[in-house]
């Protein structure tokens, strides 16, 4: 049974419902907390670490997307320390793979690029990994470029939770983690894929795109996934 609770976000006292996360309460009250792996309508996994917030009385930062509210919780969503950590998180995402905005189909419509701009990431202080990664062009309509994947798992969850196909998953550990379709079959050969394209629309970067679009041309309808989810809530 959900209850009303009072929480304080950046000094403002807000009424929330138990079961809600800090991120949900903040966004419902027009307080912006950056996030990449979070997507409304999908389960939260706390993978990208961009939504970290400071909680009064708690010694370490907590991800806003997976931390539920409770009575009396006091949260700080923006501080010099948080800004510094978010910048580090973004820079590490860039360093890990080969993100070349200049030739990317999603340039201008990319959540990673936008966040980097918003957070003043003018350069990356860590050595780039420059991994040699393949592009999976095997699907007739869509393309997966691992160079641009940030392992946020939005595609995994959109496919499993909304479409119910669960084509996508991760293989490997740590920096060798790779998005795989159906036990590492090429996407075009995945028998469970319905070609619905929800994964493509959910992807925050140019990692998944419709085939045939040139640089800057891949705009995504990200609200599709959230809308489908909300329409199914009554079922």
């Amino acid at each position: 049974m959900s209850e009303k609770v009072k929480v304080r976000i950046d000094g403002e006292v807000l009424t929330a419902t138990t079961g809600q996360t800090i991120l949900e309460v903040a966004r419902a009250n027009n307080t912006y907390i950056p996030a990449l792996c979070y997507m409304e309508g999908l389960s939260a996994v706390g993978a990208c670490r961009l939504c970290m917030v400071e909680i009064s009385g708690v010694g370490k930062l907590q991800p806003a997307c997976t931390t539920p509210v409770q009575e009396g919780l006091a949260v700080v969503t923006a501080s010099p320390q948080l800004e510094a950590y978010r910048k580090i998180a973004l820079e590490l995402l860039f360093a890990e793979r080969n993100h070349v905005c200049a030739v990317c189909v999603s340039s201008g419509h990319c959540e990673l690029q936008t966040l980097a701009q918003d957070h003043g990431v003018t350069h990356v202080r860590y050595p780039y990994g420059y991994p040699r990664l393949a592009v999976d062009t095997s699907h007739p309509r869509y393309v997966l470029d691992h160079n641009r994947c940030i392992l946020c798992s939005r595609c995994v969850r959109a496919c499993a939770e909304i479409e119910g196909a669960h084509v996508w998953d991760f293989a490997g550990r740590g920096i060798r983690s790779m998005l795989v379709s159906e036990l590492s079959r090429p996407w075009g050969e995945a028998t469970t894929c319905t070609s619905c394209g929800k994964c493509v629309q959910a992807c925050p970067t140019g990692a998944m795109a419709e085939k045939g679009w040139g640089v800057e041309e891949m705009t995504k309808q990200r609200s599709v996934v959230s809308r489908l989810s909300s329409m199914r809530e009554g079922e």
Binding site: V135, S138, K211, G212, W213, G214, V215
Partner: protein, 473 residues
């Protein structure tokens, strides 16, 4: 015996090095032009989806990214096996003409005018844009205005002046804004007046350079360029034509997808720049040149009234086949005239406003070749793809590559004429650079190279010992 190295060549796009070898008597025995960077576009694009190639390959160069964008998109059109909408074809040619105008303006005014208007022997401290501003402010202003016109038309059409994304496989991604059409039509007369003024100026001044005309790559080669079905000058489309040093037809109407039957590629031990040659003649006998000089040699006519009038006068002065590399400058101005007239013709046709500007298709052919006449000459993009559209092989032959052999031979000719081992004058060094500059080589394009600007002149003895190094700046 000694060797002079010019490292780097300045006022060109990219950087190169020239080595001049002297014999024991201090006379020039050999001279080489080296391109010192490698970039590897043909390798690292393997595996990418073909439709990303226009944006990736246009990154080869910031001076004429539009050339790569167009040649690459044409190759992609072939892979899609589509005939792009008529308006898209017109818009692409319009964009290309704007680029020809801005690039030729850059080459003539910004890069070469200090040599041409201030003199080859002028004080190097003043032989630059600042010196031009003092002595020829009107010409400099004209140059800046002409380049700005071309760049602004590109921006108006394609939204960005450098590295636009408007040209896409299958056409262009937005129709022409009627206001952009009106604005451009209104600006063409002023741009044409600049070109006419500059041509008048150059026609008088060119006779002041008899030594340079005589010694700047003034040797027989074949010439290559695109021509229309009627043999007229083409910049955006057409088929390849090769003519001999005397103007005799060597090969005509070679379809773009058949280029490999006439062009072979040799690699040189001392340069990252490949050396294409006319295949049936072999290497290095198959030496040919491309670019403005070559295009006007291969074409029967330009096909627009003002440019044809200028072409007639040019041919009456220097012959049907113009051999001296110094006349690249003159040819560039005639081409700028042609490009502006073509822009007028294209914009006068209301059909250019059609909103049907893009064909969509998947992979319908495993191979595609796109050829255009870039400002510096014939540009070839040739790709192969797998069934899913991933690039499996790519070959790029750029304008400066075609001219590689001629550039090397030209450097030797000009060094023999102007460089004397006993006294290396600034004017002599500059003439070597100016020869390179006449070709308007784009070294970043040619090796698809990245890096610092400019020319190092090395003086080397018979045993390759470095005797002197002079950098021009």
């Amino acid at each position: 015996m000694s060797k002079i190295t010019i490292d780097h060549v300045t006022r060109i796009e990219g950087h190169g090095r020239i080595t001049i070898r002297l014999d024991d008597a201090g006379k020039v025995s050999d001279a080489r032009f080296h391109v010192t960077q490698v970039r590897g576009f043909e390798r690292f694009t393997v595996g990418r989806p073909y439709y990303e190639m226009p944006s990736i390959t246009s990154r080869i160069c910031g001076i004429c990214p539009v050339s790569h964008l167009l040649a690459s998109s044409k190759a992609c059109d072939e892979i899609m096996a589509v005939r792009i909408p008529a308006a898209a074809r017109q818009l692409r040619e319009l964009l290309h003409c704007a680029q020809i105008v801005q690039s030729h303006a850059l080459s003539f005014f910004h890069l070469s005018a200090p040599d041409l208007l201030l003199g080859m022997d002028a004080d190097p401290a003043r032989r630059n844009i600042a010196g031009l501003l003092e002595e020829h402010p009107d010409a400099l202003r004209d140059g800046i205005a002409l380049r700005r016109f071309g760049q602004q038309v590109i921006e108006r059409l394609a939204r960005e002046r450098v590295h636009p994304s408007w040209v896409v496989p299958g056409g262009v991604n937005a129709p022409l804004d009627p206001q952009a059409r009106e604005k451009t039509l209104a600006e063409i007369p002023a741009a044409a007046a600049i070109v006419a003024r500059t041509l008048a100026l150059w026609k008088r001044a060119v006779s002041d350079f008899p030594d340079e005309i005589d010694a700047f790559s003034n040797f027989p080669t074949m010439y290559c360029g695109l021509v229309g079905p009627d043999g007229s000058l083409r910049l955006y489309d057409g088929n390849l034509r090769f003519v001999g040093p005397d103007g005799a037809m060597v090969a005509d109407q070679v379809r773009p997808d058949d280029y490999a039957s006439v062009i072979g590629e040799a690699t040189l031990p001392d340069s990252y720049l490949k050396a294409p040659y006319y295949l049936p003649s072999g290497h290095p006998e198959g030496i040919y040149r491309v670019g403005p000089l070559a295009r006007l040699n291969v074409a029967d006519r330009c096909g627009t009234p003002d440019a044809d009038r200028e072409l007639d006068e040019y041919r009456s002065r220097f012959g049907r086949i113009v051999q001296s590399g110094f006349h690249y400058h003159y040819a560039r101005l005639i081409e700028a005239t042609y490009a502006l007239e073509r822009m007028q013709e294209l914009l006068d046709d209301p059909a250019i406003l059609s909103t049907k500007v893009r064909a969509h298709a998947g992979v319908n052919a495993s191979e595609g070749t796109g050829i255009i006449e870039a400002p510096r000459g014939t540009l070839i993009h040739h790709y192969r793809v797998d069934d899913n559209g991933a690039i499996t092989w790519a070959n790029l032959i750029v304008a400066t590559g075609h001219n590689n052999l001629a550039l090397g031979r030209g450097v030797l000719q000009v060094a023999q004429r102007f460089v004397d081992g006993k006294r290396i004058t600034e004017g002599a060094l500059n003439r070597v650079s100016a020869l390179v500059r006449a070709y308007d080589p784009c070294l970043s394009c040619s090796t698809h190279a990245l890096g610092m600007p400019a020319l190092l002149l090395e003086l080397r003895g018979p045993d390759d010992e470095l005797l002197d190094t002079i950098a021009t700046s």
